[in-house]
């Protein structure tokens, strides 16, 4: 038995390490309700959305992990993308460039205080060619929302969020 004692110890330590890593990497789930005002850092600039209103995937992932109360996360891209992968707790609004998407977004926020922390995202296309985030952002601003952030997705949701290992959910 002595002969195997070290081996047994190594196996036990390995099991404990695996267990710890499983807990540490558990995707962060939240329901996106009860939004509060959060502070964000700056992100890459864009012509029509002020730099201060952008948030990078890394910053958002950290904010979602650390904040006790989460911002309201709204996906303003196509449904085919949302159904495959979206940020857990985010709500599907429909394409921000479409009338239906704009209407749903308007209805979703109509009863919320204007200082509600809201993060919108799409990721259908490279940032400069995304047709959805700009109109969705402009709509929220025109409705008087003052704490709106836009997730800066440089290439697409797969490359900049999913493949980076940030939390993902799927389905309707």
């Amino acid at each position: 038995m002595t002969k195997y004692r070290n081996l047994v110890a190594v196996i036990f330590m390995t099991i404990i390490l695996i267990g710890c890593s499983a807990v540490a990497q558990e995707p962060v789930l939240f329901d996106g309700t009860n939004p509060v005002v959060l502070s964000f850092q700056s992100a890459p600039s864009d012509a029509s959305i002020p730099e201060a209103k952008l948030i990078t995937p890394e910053q958002l992932a950290k904010a979602l992990q650390s904040a006790k109360q989460k911002p309201l996360l709204l996906q303003v891209g196509p449904h085919t993308l949302y159904a495959q992968a979206h940020i857990p707790g985010s709500e599907y609004m429909g394409a921000g460039s479409s009338d239906a998407g704009q209407q749903k977004l308007r209805e979703r926020v109509t009863a919320l205080p204007h200082n509600t922390a809201i993060v919108i995202y799409c990721g259908c296309c490279p940032w400069s060619q995304c047709p959805n985030v700009h109109p969705a952002y402009q709509l929220l601003r025109s409705l008087g929302f003052t704490n709106v952030k836009v997730l800066y997705i440089g290439d697409n949701f797969g490359t900049d969020w999913v493949n980076k290992g940030y939390p993902v959910a799927k389905g309707d």
Partner: protein
């Protein structure tokens, strides 16, 4: 003997823990369709109402284009795909368009406006997942005559790349 048995049980336990951890950490996104593998077969109905089955195109070099009407780089590529269909079609080349639009109406309008000369169908998330997830557009697969994935291109790609790859595959037979 008892010690050996203990070690074996511990190894079995370790394997089970490993399997558990692996299953917990799988992301919803399937593994990307890999180069060299057969492309997943599928049947869809194209805009003209015809059944379109990928495996029916075996024997041809196929460019499978995932796109959408709202995707600017997709719209840039499509006129070139129309040209490629004209140029290489007689040699055994076929473009197939799978739109990821949420509804067929704008796809049909685009199809007519740009006079697409190849079949187009509207896909969905389930079809996209069979190809490793289409989590950004455009995505293009080049398939050889046996239906194997020769290349996968994510995002806007220089159109000369498609020409080169298709020419190379067509020249093989």
């Amino acid at each position: 003997m008892a010690a050996k048995r203990t070690v074996i049980w511990l190894i079995v336990l370790l394997c089970l823990v490993g399997l558990y951890v692996f299953s917990r950490h799988r992301t919803p996104q399937p593994k990307p369709a890999a180069s060299g593998n057969l492309a997943p077969d599928f049947t869809v109905t194209d805009l003209d109402g015809r059944k379109l089955t990928l495996s029916d195109f075996k024997g041809k070099v196929v460019l499978l284009n995932f796109w959408a009407t709202w995707c600017a780089p997709c719209r840039t590529e499509i006129p070139h795909f129309v040209e490629m269909q004209n140029k290489y079609g007689p040699q055994g080349f076929q473009v197939i368009g799978i739109s990821m639009d949420d509804d067929a109406k704008p796809v049909r309008e685009f199809y007519q406006q740009y006079q697409l000369n190849y079949p187009v169908a509207v896909g969905d998330d389930k079809l996209a997942e069979r190809f490793g997830g289409i989590l950004g557009l455009p995505v293009n697969f080049i398939l050889d005559r046996e239906g194997r994935i020769h290349a996968k291109h994510l995002g806007a790609t220089d159109v000369s790349v498609f020409d080169d790859e298709v020419s190379e595959l067509l020249a093989k037979h």
